[in-house]
């Protein structure tokens, strides 16, 4: 296969939110991961964590392949965020709604990918939303509107391929059409 140029999307979000799982749901090939044993506070919730990046591919035809990179979640790996974001087409942010301050989490990722957020496109996937939390997404939309960011936000389960396809589809639709003149 000839790769004409690197076409890539980035999936970022809090540690343990399901970025690696999301890539596995979307990728045509078994994802490449750079996991290491967790030694920090995350050890209670997961055995391993991404330290450099995860990597999956969606093969469109014999000449075109879309790469999906998952960033490490922890802020101490933010140098990797910048490297991975360079030249990306769009950004997916996954936020764990069950964490103490999910809106602050969202801000961290919005602030650390300014070029993608302002000049390209972003879609927000909110995980661990309970079925009875009908208005859970309202706070996210409000926080985004306060920053004049208008983008798709949806509740997702990264294990469900259909959810991740919907989220990616909303991002791609936004990229394709939202920047109307």
């Amino acid at each position: 296969m000839i790769i004409v140029s690197e076409l890539k999307f980035i999936i970022t979000g809090t540690a343990g939110v399901g970025k690696t799982t999301a890539i596995t749901s979307l990728s045509d090939v078994p994802p490449v991961t750079t996991d290491a044993l967790t030694t920090d506070e995350l050890a209670d919730i997961k055995d391993t964590t991404t330290t450099a990046f995860d990597f999956g591919e969606i093969l469109l035809d014999e000449h075109t392949c879309i790469r999906i990179y998952g960033t490490p979640g922890q802020e101490r790996f933010r140098h990797m965020w910048e490297i991975l974001a360079e030249g990306a087409l769009g950004l997916v942010i996954l936020i764990d709604h069950s964490r103490e301050k999910p809106l602050e989490d969202l801000n961290i990722y919005l602030n650390n990918f300014p070029k993608l957020v302002e000049e390209s496109a972003v879609a927000i996937g909110v995980t661990r939303v309970e079925p009875n939390e009908q208005d859970a997404l309202e706070g996210y939309y409000q926080a985004l509107e306060d920053k004049l960011i208008y983008c798709p936000v949806m509740a997702v389960d990264p294990r469900e391929r259909e959810d991740m396809v919907d989220l990616m589809d909303s991002l791609v639709s936004y990229l394709d059409y939202a920047n109307a003149s």
């Binding site: 939309y141 909303s170 791609v172 936004y174 920047n179």
Partner: protein
């Protein structure tokens, strides 16, 4: 006779405009008609509101002459900006700028066609039930989450008839996904695509995602 439309101005600023332009019309060769809707040669827009800013940008994209009114001090005094409260001397300066640009332009006069209409903007990305109403629903949602659209613009983007589109709008309203506004709008806004990637990449990707 030139026509000028005042959009969203404070009453006091409107009065300054009206008084000055009436005075000019009565005592000089400058003849002005002030309008509140319809077509006009020049549009004066208060850009301190989001709708105003969007309107000004849309008009400028259509190569219309726009005078922006704002409280911001970060304005270019040689250009078509007026600072609040509006002063007669500043209006005269703007008219001089407009006259100069008219003299230097070989383009024929064109008019901005404005109307007061309902516009719709999505507050939230609609759920699957709504997105599955018609194939172009995602395209429509992507534009509509970013800016206000009139019914006609939405019909153009979605390639849907009025009934089908009204169903989309009423369902979005039902779930509180939609915000409806009434505002001055430019009639001839064109919808263009932008893509940072090869043109058919996104449709290929969408097809691939859906096919599995």
């Amino acid at each position: 006779m030139r026509t000028i439309l005042l959009s969203g101005l404070r009453r006091s600023d409107e009065l300054v405009f009206t008084s000055l332009l009436t005075l000019l019309s009565n005592n000089t060769d400058e003849k002005w008609e002030i309008k509140t809707k319809g077509s006009s040669d020049i549009v004066v827009v208060d850009v301190d509101t989001r709708n105003g800013l969007e309107l000004a940008r849309n008009l400028e994209r259509c190569d219309r002459q726009v005078i922006r009114v704002t409280t911001s001090s970060d304005t270019d005094e040689s250009a078509l900006w007026l600072r609040k409260p509006v002063r007669s001397t500043e209006i005269i300066r703007c008219i001089a700028v407009l006259n100069e640009s008219k003299l230097s332009s070989n383009e024929p006069d064109s008019k901005a066609i404005l109307d007061v209409k309902s516009t719709y903007r999505l507050r939230r990305w609609p759920n699957k039930d709504i997105m599955n109403l018609f194939p172009e629903a995602r395209q429509l949602a992507a534009v509509m989450i970013r800016r206000n659209l009139t019914l006609e613009e939405a019909m153009l983007i979605s390639k849907q008839g009025k009934d089908s589109l009204m169903r989309f709008i009423s369902l979005c309203k039902k779930y509180n996904f939609l915000r409806e506004n009434t505002q001055h709008v430019v009639k001839d806004v064109t919808i263009a695509k932008r893509s940072a990637a090869p043109k058919n990449l996104f449709s290929k990707l969408r097809r691939k995602l859906m096919s599995k």
